[in-house]
Structure formats: structure tokens, C-alpha cells
């Protein structure tokens, strides 16, 4: 029995990475859920919106780096993040003005909106590849680690170390601030209340004098800002590559639906549940169990539920299970 080592091992490979990944998914899912709450359609272009915001932040980071601006040991990308947010908001407003507003005036079906958003996704994906190209881009600078495995081992004398990357801490801290701000906005401010009223009952909200175009505009601004933050943090923690934002759409939608679509609290909850399931289901518990079991005993196999190749299948399975068993999600949201 060696609980300290088992915990360190689990933290290093499961808890810390899943916490950061969960925060990134939660930010993405919040954006999808807000658009669904107000505009009532599943916005498939959200992944590319993340990519677009991150790309603008990267370009701004490179500019700042070339000018010698640095906030070391923090990454320069944090300084460039507002530019990314502004670019994403601009993009969202443009697409709403030239694409979505047309269908809103025609009072089209939600399914038409969803298909239109797929079109927007492809156009945006092409635009991103024209501007920054399809390759990996590295823009992280500053200190890489807060705690390295070696330092942790030296400090605690354990066999297993915990590495904590600076980007992981930044991700979690920024996500906390953003989520807190968003909830404050929705619960306490005039426009937040107007948005909730609009989401609850569109006609009643109109009757009480809420301007629908303004509500829609604020929803886009919030969703785009969340997307830019989520995309930049994801790129900072892992790597920025345009193709990845197509793949990440699936776990984000799974998180949104699992939490209850249109429910901000549910989106955050869903993001963390999906992240922890993905990491834990594909993690091999062999060594973890060896530490917990009697001395000298080691499991024969890897004790792994699913091979890492099936990481994306986890989101799929959760998505299907939720739609079958509890289509409203954990916190009762809208049924698609």
C-alpha cells in the first residue's frame, strides 16, 4: 500500500491534465449553450470561431514578440488575448449581419440554422487556412512549468512526481474568472436578465419591451469572446493547429448536451465530466493499482478500459447515452 505515490501518479496523468482539458471544454460548451439559449440552434461554426480567435491572438503574440514586449514568466499570448477576443467578436457580428440575420428575418427552422452554421464553419475554416496555413504553430513562451516532476520528487521524496504546467494553471484560473463573470452578468445585470427572459419565453420578452436584436448581438459577443479565450488557452496548453478545432467540436457538443442544452451551469459541469471520462476511460491503471495493492503485486494487464485510439468514442458514447436516457441533460435543458 502506498497511497501517496498512487495519488501522485493519478494526479500527474489523470487529474491535472483532465482539469485543464475540462476547463477548455467548459468554455467552449458555454459558448455553444448561450447561442442555443438565445438563437435556438446548434452552432457548428463554434469550433472554427475558437480557431479564428486563437489565430488572431497568435498573430498578435508574434507581433508583440517581434517588438520585444514580454510579460515573462507569463506567456505573451495573455497580453494578445484581447486582440483575439475582438477579432472573434468582429467575425461573429459579421456572420450574424450577413448570414444568420437573413434566416432570422425569414423565421427559418432551427435545423436550417444548424445547416447554415455548417456552411459558415467551412468558410471560416478556409479563411483561417488562407491566413495562417494548416500547420502547427507554436506561440507559447515564458516559463513552461510551475512544478516539474524532478522538483516534486526532490521535495517530497516520492517515487512518482507531479508536473504542473504553467499553461494548465492559467487555463483553470482564466476559466474560473470568465465563468464567474458570466454568471454575475447573467444573474445581476439588466442585459443578463433580459437575455434570460428572452431565452425563457421569446414572446413575453418582446411584450415587456426587450429589443431582440440587441439580445442577439450580446449573445454573439459573449459566445465569440468565450470561443477566443477557449481556443487560445487550448493552443497554449497543447498546440495550435487548425484541423484540431474540427475534432474538438464533438466533445464540446457532448458536454453541452450532457449538461443540459441552454444551461450555462450544465455546460461547465458537462465539460468537466466529458474531460474526466475521456482521460480516465483510456488511462491504464496498472501502476496505480500496483501502488494500492499488496507489496510486490502488479496487475498482469494494463488495466485499461479502452485503447487511447478510442478517445473520441468516449464522447460519442456519452452523447448517445444521454440522448437515450435523459435527453434534457443533467440540469433540465431544452430537448432538441
Amino acid at each position: 500500500m502506498d497511497i501517496a505515490n498512487a495519488f501522485a501518479l493519478l494526479s500527474n496523468f489523470v487529474l491535472v491534465p483532465a482539469l485543464a482539458y475540462g476547463a477548455q471544454l467548459a468554455l467552449g460548451a458555454l459558448g455553444v449553450t448561450i447561442i442555443f439559449g438565445i438563437l435556438r440552434f446548434a452552432n457548428f461554426a463554434h469550433g472554427e470561431m475558437m480557431s479564428f480567435g486563437a489565430m488572431a491572438a497568435i498573430l498578435a503574440t508574434w507581433f508583440l514578440q517581434s517588438q520585444g514586449v514580454s510579460i515573462s514568466p507569463l506567456p505573451t499570448a495573455l497580453l494578445a488575448l484581447p486582440i483575439g477576443i475582438l477579432a472573434a467578436i468582429g467575425m461573429a457580428c459579421l456572420t450574424d449581419r450577413f448570414v444568420f440575420r437573413f434566416y432570422r428575418r425569414k423565421r427559418s427552422n432551427p435545423i436550417v440554422f444548424a445547416i447554415v452554421s455548417v456552411g459558415v464553419m467551412f468558410v471560416m475554416a478556409g479563411l483561417i487556412r488562407i491566413i495562417i496555413g494548416p500547420d502547427d504553430q507554436s506561440f507559447a513562451d515564458g516559463a513552461r512549468f510551475l512544478v516539474t516532476v524532478r522538483e516534486f520528487k526532490a521535495a517530497t521524496g516520492l517515487d512518482q512526481g507531479i508536473a504542473i504546467k504553467q499553461s494548465q494553471v492559467i487555463t483553470v484560473v482564466v476559466a474560473l474568472i470568465v465563468v464567474a463573470f458570466l454568471f454575475w452578468f447573467l444573474q445581476r445585470t439588466r442585459w443578463g436578465k433580459a437575455m434570460r427572459a428572452y431565452s425563457d419565453d421569446e414572446d413575453l420578452a418582446l411584450l415587456s419591451g426587450i429589443d431582440p436584436e440587441k439580445v442577439v448581438l450580446i449573445a454573439w459577443i459573449i459566445a465569440a469572446a468565450l470561443a477566443a479565450i477557449a481556443g487560445t488557452l487550448y493552443g497554449l496548453d497543447k498546440t495550435y493547429k487548425p484541423f484540431i478545432f474540427l475534432q474538438i467540436l464533438l466533445p464540446i457538443f457532448a458536454a453541452t448536451i450532457l449538461g443540459g442544452i441552454g444551461q450555462p451551469v450544465g455546460a461547465v459541469l458537462g465539460g468537466f465530466i466529458i474531460a474526466f471520462s475521456e482521460v480516465m476511460v483510456t488511462y491504464a491503471f496498472k501502476r496505480f493499482l500496483a501502488y494500492l495493492g499488496p507489496d510486490g503485486w502488479v496487475p498482469d494487464g494494463l488495466v485499461q478500459l479502452l485503447s487511447t485510439d478510442y478517445k473520441f468514442a468516449v464522447s460519442f458514447v456519452i452523447l448517445v447515452a444521454v440522448l437515450l436516457v435523459r435527453p434534457t441533460g443533467i440540469i433540465r435543458g431544452k430537448v432538441i
Binding site: N12, F145, V149, Y234, K238, K241, F243, L302, T308
Partner: protein, 395 residues
């Protein structure tokens, strides 16, 4: 200006027309874009250096010029490779192809373009064992040895260093799978233990899950049979970040300056193997390449030089640029008997062949072709010390 334009056009057209008549074209079909782009740049220059040398000698088929025509085989896109090869053969009219870079692309080009058109292909870097048994009508050669050889060498090196167990990850394609299988069987035959084998997909953002699996299985060292600017790099990054492994075995696709430039001293103690030799040919080639913008001892550069050289020497030996005529001369010029030919001596070789003599091409890789038209191979073992590749010895 108006009067100049027609003149200029006429001048350009007449020079290109003259070129097309005299020059023999060689297709340089390499993965200029994609996972191998950092490997290919010096390779193509090395291959073109041999072409230039033959062209400048004035002794090739009675004084003909030779030019290189580049085509992009990519590495993973078989359709793009096939289209590029098709363009080289049908519209450029090349007399032979040096390429392709990766095994998958090479197989596609050989099956879909080279065999139907009866075109000779010499790959400097396709190392999949499957290419040893492929139907090729005697048209396919390679100056790099099969990965089955590299697997045996890695097994020997690991046992010699006293490493008892290793985890193994490979890039999920023909090259990675073939290499991983050969490493595993060679290492286990020598009494080593592979604790876990996990494939990784290229082009992902995050490899921590794959590394976590391998870390759970444990092992003294992690063998990364991948690409240095793709998933292989991601696997190493994740392994270093989580402290799962701190030493790596890096087969040929991972050996390159880009890797040590990125990770520096974090890779210290890692073992690299890639085709290479200590025959004087390698040093001569390195010297020839000086001042030409690439390094003559970069991975696969000597193989690329040799591929171009034996292709042209076989044409000289056959007295023809027709693939059907010269394909049987490739093994003849590469192996004994005959005068030994080192890099920079292509003019001498051309003269000997023109006079009806025999040559034994040694080149930059101490080339010896064995059946079915592939290099017997000689490998360089390197280690990373202070963030730089250091040669340990040759096998």
C-alpha cells in the same frame, strides 16, 4: 519595352527548346511537403548534386546534359504522389525517377505509375520491409536498407547498452508498423522485453493519453518509431512533460537537427540510429557538399546522391536512357567487380563505362545492392549529448 517583349519571349522559348532537345531529365520525386519536409530539402539537393556532376562532366552518353525535374510526392497522400509521378513521366518525359521519400507514397507510385509505364524508380529513403517483396518487374531499387535491418541493429544496440525493457510507440502507418514489428521481434529474440506497444496518430494536439498508457507499462526507455516533426515529437514532449520517460530510442525518421534544436539537452542519453557509414565515401560527400547550402551527412543525403548516381551510371553502361534497356545495368554498376567509384568521381566512372570497362560504385553509403535491388545497409549509431547528435559508431 513593347519591342523588347517579343524578343524576350523568343529568347526564352529558344533556350527552353534547346534544353528540351539535349537534356536528359531525371525526376526528383520527394516529399517536399508534409511530415518529411525537413528531411527532404537536403536530400533533394544531394540527389541533384550528383545529377549536376554528371551533367558537367561532358562524358554522359556522348556529352548530353542532365537536368532534375522536381515533383512533390508528399509523404502521406498517395493520390498526390501518384499525380506528381504521372506528371513527371507523361508530361515532363523523365528517363528515370529518384524517389519517392516515404514507403506508402513509393508503393502507390510504383503500383500505379512506374510499373504501368515501365519506369525505373530508385528510392533513397523508403524503408518498409513490404517493398522487398512487392511485384516490381525489376524496375524498383532502393539505396536505403529495409527497416527489418534497422530493427536488428536497434535490438543489438539496446542489448549492448544493458537495456532490459522498453516501451514502444509507432506512427500508425506502413513505415511505423513495419519498423515497430521488426524492432520488437529483434529485441525480444535477444532476450529484451517490450512492455507495451501503442500506436500514435500524427497531427494531434495532445499525446498525453498515449504516453500515460506507456508509462503505466513502464520500461527503461521509450522507442519512438515516428516522425520528428509530427506525432513523434508530440510523444516525446508529452513524455518529458509528465516525466514518464527521459531516454528515447530514435530510429531514422526521428534523427534530425530539428529535434535536438527543439528539445536540446532534455534528450541527453537518447540513442539514435539512421543509415550511415564510416567508409571514406561519406566524408568525401560531406566535403563535396560544402558551400552548397546543405550538409552531405544529413540523413538520407548520401542515399539520395547514390540513387541519382547509379541511375545515370546504369544509363551510361547501357548506352541508353530507355528504362527497359538500363534497368538490368543498375546492379552491375553498383556491385563488384570493377574499379571502385567514390563521390566526386562520377566523371571518371562515366569514362570507364564509355570505354567498356567495369565499375563498382561505392558512393556515399558504401553501396552494395542485394536481391531484390536494395541496399544491404550500414547504420550509424548516435547519441544525444549536450543537446547535439554525436556519432558513436557504425554497424
Amino acid at each position: 519595352m513593347k519591342r523588347f517583349l517579343p524578343l524576350l519571349c523568343a529568347a526564352v522559348m529558344s533556350t527552353t527548346a534547346a534544353h528540351a532537345q539535349d537534356a536528359v531529365k531525371i525526376g526528383m520525386l520527394q516529399g517536399f511537403t508534409g511530415p518529411t519536409e525537413s528531411l527532404v530539402k537536403p536530400m533533394a539537393l544531394g540527389g541533384e548534386m550528383a545529377i549536376q556532376e554528371v551533367s558537367d562532366s561532358g562524358a554522359f552518353l556522348g556529352g548530353k546534359k542532365v537536368v532534375s525535374v522536381r515533383g512533390d510526392s508528399t509523404c502521406v497522400d498517395a493520390a498526390a504522389a501518384t499525380a506528381a509521378a504521372d506528371r513527371l513521366i507523361t508530361s515532363e518525359g523523365v528517363a528515370g525517377i529518384v524517389g519517392a521519400t516515404c514507403s506508402g507514397a513509393t508503393t502507390a507510385v510504383l503500383n500505379n505509375v512506374a510499373r504501368p509505364n515501365g519506369m525505373v524508380m530508385i528510392s533513397p529513403s523508403a524503408t518498409s520491409p513490404a517493398l522487398s517483396t512487392i511485384e516490381d518487374d525489376g524496375l524498383f531499387f532502393r539505396t536505403a536498407p529495409s527497416d527489418a535491418r534497422q530493427g536488428q541493429i536497434i535490438g543489438t544496440v539496446l542489448v549492448a547498452q544493458g537495456i532490459k525493457s522498453a516501451a514502444l510507440t509507432y506512427t500508425n502507418n506502413d513505415y511505423g508498423k513495419g519498423l515497430a514489428d521488426s524492432i520488437q521481434s529483434a529485441f525480444e529474440a535477444k532476450g529484451g522485453k517490450i512492455t507495451a506497444v501503442a500506436a500514435h496518430e500524427d497531427g494531434k494536439a495532445d499525446y498525453s493519453a498515449e504516453v500515460a498508457t506507456l508509462a503505466a507499462a513502464g520500461g527503461d526507455i521509450l522507442i519512438v518509431a515516428g516522425y520528428l516533426d509530427q506525432g513523434g515529437k508530440g510523444m516525446i514532449q508529452a513524455a518529458l512533460d509528465t516525466g514518464a520517460f527521459d531516454r528515447f530510442v530514435l530510429p531514422d525518421g526521428m534523427v534530425g537537427e530539428a529535434l535536438t534544436d527543439h528539445f536540446g539537452a532534455d534528450l541527453d542519453g537518447s540513442i539514435g540510429t539512421n543509415p550511415g557509414t564510416d567508409s571514406p565515401g561519406a566524408a568525401l560527400l560531406a566535403k563535396l557538399a560544402e558551400g552548397k547550402g546543405f550538409k552531405g551527412d544529413d540523413p538520407y543525403v548520401p542515399e539520395a546522391y547514390d540513387a541519382s548516381a547509379i541511375l545515370l551510371l546504369a544509363m551510361q553502361s547501357a548506352g541508353s536512357t530507355d528504362p527497359a534497356a538500363y534497368k538490368s545495368h543498375i546492379e552491375k554498376v553498383s556491385n563488384a567487380p570493377g574499379e571502385k567509384i567514390f563521390p566526386g568521381e562520377l566523371a571518371k566512372a562515366l569514362k570507364i563505362l564509355a570505354d567498356g570497362g567495369d565499375i563498382d560504385y561505392v558512393g556515399g553509403t558504401a553501396l552494395e545492392l542485394i536481391a531484390p535491388g536494395e541496399s544491404a545497409g550500414s547504420f550509424r549509431e548516435t547519441t544525444v549529448a549536450d543537446g547535439k547528435w554525436k556519432t558513436v559508431g557504425y554497424h
